[in-house]
Structure formats: structure tokens, C-alpha cells
């Protein structure tokens, strides 16, 4: 096969060839961008999707004990892609006046073990690595790196609602 390159004595042909070449590159670039931008947006969708937990009702305020932390069990409805899955979940709650509630994530901030309230010692104890938390969630002893995590709480119509959100970066 002989080469198709025009002889150098024809600058007009050369510029026409370059013009067409550039036109092809520009059109190809536009088409690639037109498909590439939606494709990349779609692929990276998990990065800009917000996971909004709905408020979950966990009890009637008037029936909840005052002063002593108590465990609340509830059914949590979670969105999992196109599905809504229900799962049993729990949390530790405490109120001093029956109006302001503090609700703790039931997992120890060390490695996620379920801790419990020791009514005699008046402390939260984690069985895994002997972590001890105060009634306000402060670390008193053991390896946890931070106080107990808290769930957002609200009281509406005499009912207690929480948003059992998972902390970022945890499973």
C-alpha cells in the first residue's frame, strides 16, 4: 500500500486535511462528552446521594421511665436501594425531666459491641473490652475513643421519635 500523504507542494490540500481532522476530533470529543458526563454522573451516584433516615416512633413519652436509662426496642424501616426493609433495632434512652430525652446509639464507640446499663453501678458497661460510660455517655474507663454516639431526638404529639442514623464510615 502506498501512502496517502499529499506532496508538500500542495499547502491547500494540507490545510483542508487538517481542517477535516480537527472537525472529526471536535465532533468525537463532543459525542464522548455527551455520553461520558451522564455515564460518570450515574456511576458516581453513590457519592452524591443523601441517605435520609426517617423519624422512627419509639414510644409514648408519658409511659417512659424518668431518671433511669432504659432500653427501647423498635422496628426500623430502612431504604435499601429499591427496597424498604424492616429490621429490629434498639437504643438506650434517658431523661431527667420527662421532656428532654437523650438517646444513645446502642453500639459501643470502641468496636461496636452492645453495652448495657448496670442499675447498681449506675454506669453503662460494655462486656467486650470493659468499657465504662457515664449516664451522659462520657467515657469513664476502657478503650473507647469518644463518648457514646447520640441519635437525633424529637417529641411530637406525646410520642418520642428518633432518627437512628449510622455514623459515617461505620458498617
Amino acid at each position: 500500500m502506498e501512502k496517502n500523504n499529499p506532496p508538500p507542494s500542495l499547502p491547500d490540500t494540507d490545510s483542508r486535511r487538517n481542517f477535516l481532522k480537527q472537525g472529526i476530533f471536535i465532533m468525537g470529543g463532543l459525542i464522548t462528552a455527551g455520553i461520558g458526563v451522564p455515564a460518570v454522573t450515574y456511576f458516581l451516584a453513590p457519592l452524591w446521594q443523601k441517605e435520609e433516615e426517617d423519624w422512627t416512633e419509639v414510644g409514648t413519652v408519658a409511659e417512659l421511665p424518668v431518671g433511669e436509662p432504659f432500653k427501647i426496642d423498635f422496628v426500623q424501616r430502612k431504604r435499601d436501594g429499591w427496597m424498604t426493609v424492616e429490621g429490629r433495632s434498639s437504643a438506650w434512652a434517658v431523661t431527667v425531666d420527662g421532656e428532654q430525652f437523650t438517646v444513645f446509639d446502642p453500639r459501643c464507640t470502641h468496636l461496636g459491641c452492645p453495652y448495657r446499663w448496670d442499675a447498681e453501678k449506675k454506669k453503662f458497661l460494655c462486656p467486650c473490652h470493659n468499657a465504662v460510660f457515664s449516664v451522659t455517655g462520657e467515657v469513664l474507663a476502657g478503650p473507647p475513643p469518644r463518648p457514646l454516639d447520640r441519635f437525633p431526638v424529637k417529641v411530637a404529639g406525646g410520642k418520642l421519635f428518633i432518627k437512628p442514623a449510622q455514623k459515617k464510615g461505620e458498617g
Binding site: 500500500m1 496517502n4 455520553i35 451522564p38 450515574y42 446521594q49 436501594g81
Partner: protein, 223 residues
């Protein structure tokens, strides 16, 4: 850029490859009818890219198929665009490949020495129709369900082997969960693998043999 080209050229002879692939001799008189093959190839690439993306959010089970599709349409950014491209790309692909086939037929371009190009092309065309048939079921809506029902029943009308063919297609007596998983496997694994192989061979032949000149009226003055 030219340093990279030099580097590649020294090792794999990229300039020669580029010359062979892109700087091919083209016969006199070729025009728009000759772009249909490239159009088909472009659409195939588009279907592969968008199809891979769709598979990331699709679940081929009767319980989840439809809701996973509507989830991707409503909740995934650009989900409707990506699915729209795949949907329309599929229709365009059938049209483009069919026109490409007709162009080849009416220009007589299937003749010696291009018989193998023609035969592989026919099989690619059949595979494209297979893509259309299997992909149509995947959204698992009423249209998908009944279209596949009709398609499988048409297959069962064939003499002797018909019922067996329909049963193998459906994965059983009735259209259901197994049909969906089978069609999904055909659509995203079997057909793409076969099509990619055939397209590779088809393109190799096109580069190897070159494309035919448009037919001319016979020259009566020729001796």
C-alpha cells in the same frame, strides 16, 4: 504526544497499526451509505457502556426487576438518561444494522471475496435481534411480559421442535422467574460475548479485504 507514539511505535509498531486501520484505501464513489457499518459499531459501543451501567442497578428477579428499574429512573442521577440512551440505542441499532445489511445486499458487496464478511454480518444481525428480544423482557412490565409470551408462543409453533425450543427459551412450561434470569444471562453474558467475537472477525475481514466499490453500470464499449 509524539514521544508516546514513538515509545509505542518502537515496541508494537503503532504507526503501522494506525496506518493499516485508519489510512485504508477507499474506492472511488463511496458516500453516506458506507457509514452504516461505523454507525452500527458506534451504537454497539454505546449499548455496551450504557448496558454495563444499567446492570449496576438492575436485579433480574420478578420481585425486584420492575422496582429496581423505576428506582434507577427516579433516584439515580442521570439514571433516566442512561436508560434512555440504552432504550433508543437498541432501536437505532436494529435499524442501523438492518440498513447496513440491505446496503451490502443491494450493492452486491457480499460477493467474492467478501462472502465471510457477509456471513458473519448475517449472524451479527441475528444476534442484534436476539438482544432486542431478550432485552425487551428485562423491565418486567406488562408489555415486556406479554411480548415475551407472544415470542415464546411463536417459537412453539415451529413444527416438531417448536415446543422444545419454547421450553428451553422460557426455562420451563410457564413464563416466570427462570425466564427472567435466563433472558438476563443471554442478554448480558452470552450474546455480548458472541457478538464481540463476530464483530472482531467482521472488522478484521473489512480491514484485510477492504471495502467494495459501488456498483457501476456496465460499460458497453468495453471489449
Amino acid at each position: 504526544m509524539s514521544r508516546l507514539t514513538n515509545w509505542l511505535d518502537e515496541r508494537i509498531g503503532i504507526r503501522g497499526i494506525r496506518e493499516t486501520l485508519l489510512d485504508r484505501k477507499i474506492p472511488k464513489g463511496v458516500g453516506w451509505p458506507y457509514v452504516l457499518g461505523s454507525v452500527s459499531l458506534f451504537l454497539f459501543t454505546l449499548q455496551v457502556v450504557t448496558g454495563i451501567l444499567l446492570a449496576m442497578n438492575y436485579s433480574p428477579s420478578p420481585e425486584h426487576a420492575h422496582s429496581s428499574v423505576s428506582y434507577m429512573m427516579q433516584k439515580i442521577p442521570m439514571g433516566s438518561v442512561v436508560r434512555g440512551l440504552h432504550h433508543w440505542g437498541a432501536s437505532f441499532m436494529v435499524v442501523a444494522v438492518t440498513l447496513h445489511l440491505l446496503r451490502t445486499f443491494f450493492y452486491g458487496a457480499y460477493k467474492y471475496p467478501r462472502e465471510l464478511t457477509w456471513i458473519t454480518g448475517i449472524f451479527i444481525w441475528l444476534l442484534v435481534l436476539g438482544f432486542g428480544f431478550t432485552g425487551y423482557l428485562l423491565p418486567w412490565d406488562q408489555k415486556a411480559y406479554w411480548a415475551t409470551m407472544v415470542g415464546a408462543n411463536i417459537a412453539s409453533q415451529a413444527p416438531f421442535l417448536g415446543p422444545a425450543i419454547a421450553k428451553v427459551l422460557r426455562g420451563g412450561e410457564a413464563l416466570g422467574a427462570v425466564t427472567l434470569t435466563r433472558f438476563y444471562a443471554f442478554h448480558v453474558l452470552l450474546l455480548p460475548a458472541l457478538t464481540a467475537l463476530l464483530i472482531g472477525f467482521h472488522l478484521f475481514l473489512v480491514v484485510r479485504i477492504g471495502i467494495s466499490a459501488p456498483p457501476e453500470k456496465e460499460d458497453k464499449n468495453k471489449p
